[in-house]
Every structure is written in C-alpha cells, then in structure tokens.
C-alpha cells in the first residue's frame, strides 16, 4: 500500500506495550528525533525492546525513553555511548544483547530479507560468540547469527515522495534503510515531502514498498 502521511500522534498510536522498536541513526545523526521526542513525551508504551546501534545519549533520543524506565531490553553494538544505558544494564534495569556492528547491521538486513540466518567469521572464538553455534566453513571458524525483526521501525530520511519512496542524505543514511525493511510497520520521519517523480529514481534508497507511514519533521 502507498504510505500515508500522518500526524505524530497517529504514528505513535502504532507503538504498543512490549513492542520491539527498530530505530535508525548512528548516535543521533540520522535518528528520527521528532518521533523519539514524541514517543517520550506523548506515548505511554512500555516494556519496549529497542534495536539501535546506540541507546541514544543521556536523556536524548532513545536515552529519554531509557530514563523513563520504558525500555526492557536493548540490542545494540555500542551501549557505551550512553553511560546511563551502561548503568541500567549493570543495575539490571534493562537487559542487553551486544553484537559486533557489522553483525548487527547484517542481522537486521537478514530480518528484512526473509533469511533464516548467516555465518560470519566476525566474533568467532570470542566472548560474543558464547552460546552461539560455531562451525568451520571455508577453513575459518564462523558464528551463526540470526535475523532481527521488529514490530515498528522508526527511521529518518531527508526526503520522501508522497508514495513513501525515501532518499537519505550523506552519513545520515547509516542504519535507516535496513531498519525500514525489517518491521511490521515502518514509520519514516522526513525532512521534506516532495511530489512523486521529483526524487531521482537512481537515488531512491528505500523504495516505497517498505514504508507505511510518513511524518514530516517539525520546522
């Protein structure tokens, strides 16, 4: 279905208690900040699992949800960028799954691509492979990693057309195109909404079949 342009409130109505939220951004760059701010201020959804390269910064982005105690579990490659996330894990307030960054990205891609898993040499033989299947393939020890999917993906794109085609800008692309593929509902916060046909077809990074709802970033 073509994406629908909706209000922040309507978008947030799709986030429910216990959901797994996939969130784009590397640090706060390319993060859907209006959606995250509104999620903290105007939604009550709790017991969330968040899948994001970082758990925001202290009090910002996903860090605001963390402070509110609404995150139950984090899947990430770098909790360390938010000391409050580290403290929350150490105190047992939230649980954590740590993945090498490339494995994290690839697992989300696999989730969106309908794959059952993949073998990677990264992390093989290390503490991060503990409890995972490991086997030798092509003469190298490899770890079986499983796909990651979510209920809702929150992504940020520089521009969207009215159908939901997305184009990202520079390094704000990062995890956004991956997150957009791997959730039941994908909500895109966009810098600008443009008419169909005004994006360069060769630079549409997320075709509209991945996008359900569009929220235009404030101001």
């Amino acid at each position: 279905m073509p994406a629908r342009v909706v209000s922040l409130d309507e978008a947030l109505s799709h986030v429910h208690d216990g959901d797994t939220i996939l969130c784009g951004g590397f640090g706060l760059v390319g993060a859907p900040m209006s959606l995250l701010d509104a999620l903290a201020e105007r939604s009550t959804a709790r017991d969330l699992t968040v899948v994001s390269n970082n758990i925001g910064e202290p009090g910002r982005g996903l860090g605001a949800l963390l402070r509110q105690g609404r995150i139950r579990h984090g899947i990430s490659s770098y909790f360390t960028s938010n000391p409050e996330a580290v403290a929350a894990v150490n105190s047992g307030t939230i649980t954590a799954t740590l993945l090498p960054q490339g494995t994290f990205a690839e697992a989300i891609r696999a989730g969106g691509a309908g794959l059952g898993g993949f073998y990677t040499p990264v992390g093989a033989g290390t503490a991060l492979a503990a409890g995972k299947e490991q086997r030798e393939l092509d003469g190298r020890l490899q770890v079986l990693e499983r796909p990651i999917r979510g209920d809702v993906a929150l992504v940020y794109a520089d521009r969207a057309d009215e159908l939901g085609n997305l184009s990202y800008r520079k390094t704000a692309r990062n995890f956004n195109p991956l997150m957009a593929t791997a959730a039941t509902i994908t909500i895109a916060e966009v810098g600008a909404l443009v008419p169909v046909g005004s994006l360069d077809a060769e630079a549409i990074h997320t075709p509209h079949l991945y996008v359900d709802l569009i929220v235009v970033r404030d101001g």
Binding site: M1, P2, G114, G197
Partner: protein, 214 residues
C-alpha cells in the same frame, strides 16, 4: 465459452486491491493489467530490479535499459525505483511483495505448486519462481484447468518436481476459483458457466467444495 485466458485474467484482476505491490509472471498474468479497474492502481514489481513498471512502450519510446523479468521492453511510472537483484529478492523473500501471480504445471490440494520442471525434460531454468512462491504474501496461480494433453492441473498430489510446498493461496482456472483454507484447496466459485461437476471432472482426486456451491 469465452477465451479461457481472458476469463482467467479478468477474474485474477479482481483479486487485486488498489495499492498492492504485485509481481506478475509470464503468460496469463501479463494480461491482468488490461483488466484492472481505473480505481485499482497496483504497483508492479519486476524481479530484475524495478518497482513501478508502466505500460508497454510505443515504438520510439523503447529504452534498452528498461525491461521486465520477461525481458520485454517496458516503461516506468513516475514513482519508479531501481535496485540490484539481491535487494529485489530481499523484497520478495522478506514478504514485501503483496501478491505474486504466476502460472503452474500442477497445484495440489494441499497448495503445493510445481511450475519449474517437467520430469524427463531439461530442468535448467528456475529463475525467480521459487523465491516468489515462498516469499510473496499471497500467491495466486492462473492456469487453464487442463494441460495441453488433457490432464488435470489441480491434482491430489503433484507428480512434477515441486517449486514449493503449501505455498498457493488461490488458484484461478477458466472454470473456477479455489482457495486454500486450513491447508486445503476448496472450490469457492464457478466461472463462465461451469458446474461443480465440470470442475470435479477436470481436477484430480476428491475436491473440497465450499458449502455455498452445493
């Protein structure tokens, strides 16, 4: 009786809903766009790497870099996007294509489909058939009731090599529509004047028939 292929294509068109992402196989499915109502705009995905396939080009409009998966020249909608083959099949396998409409050699009562290989003949081309029947959210098979040699194509069990098991949701022939319900094909609709007995004669084995048709 109307031309079988047109009956099938027209009925298949009615299965599609406005806004759906649809992948059309070769043969009968390619006739479907002509039968879509003007309020049923769908978005055609072609597995060679385009979302937003437009109508066939008129002469002089042909672009050598713009084809569909049947290798025919096409046009592109204003909304069209392009992607590589890994991404294209990631879309298919990942459930992002709403409907695949394709032909088949056989469909079993369990919804198994055989559409890529005939025993004893060359089995050297599969293309995207397996990906599509496994990955698309809804799989609609359009096929004539009988093979060119007069054998039923809806069968108790497929004798041809499977493309995928329990994958077909809807079968449309020139006689009837079958839907998979609780793991089993059920005759749910008669087309073009066919009777339940006509359908029974042109399908293999005991067929489930929806109550409203009895």
């Amino acid at each position: 009786m109307a031309d079988a292929r047109l009956v099938i294509a027209r009925r298949a068109a009615a299965e599609l809903r406005a806004g759906e992402i649809v992948n059309l196989g070769i043969g009968i499915p390619t006739l479907i766009p002509d039968h879509l109502g003007t309020d049923t705009e769908v978005f055609l995905h072609s597995e060679n790497g385009i979302l937003g396939v437009g109508p066939r080009p008129v002469d002089g409009e042909i672009d050598a870099d713009l084809i569909d998966a049947a290798k025919r020249p096409v046009t592109a909608l204003a909304s069209a996007s392009y992607f590589d083959s890994a991404q294209s099949f990631a879309m298919i396998r990942g459930g992002h294509v709403d409907v695949a409409v394709l032909g088949a050699l056989q469909v079993s009562h369990a919804g198994d489909i055989a559409n890529w290989a005939v025993p004893g003949r060359d089995v050297l081309g599969v293309g995207g058939a397996m990906d599509l029947v496994v990955g698309a959210r809804r799989v609609i098979v359009t096929m004539t009731a009988l093979s060119s040699s007069g054998e039923p194509k809806v069968v108790a069990r497929c004798s041809y090599p499977l493309t995928a098991a329990a994958a077909v949701d809807v079968v449309i022939t020139e006689q009837a529509v079958f839907r998979r319900r609780e793991g089993r094909l059920v005759l749910t609709e008669l087309l073009d004047g066919a009777s339940v007995d006509d359908v029974r004669r042109s399908t293999g084995g005991e067929l489930a028939v929806a109550l409203e048709l009895l």
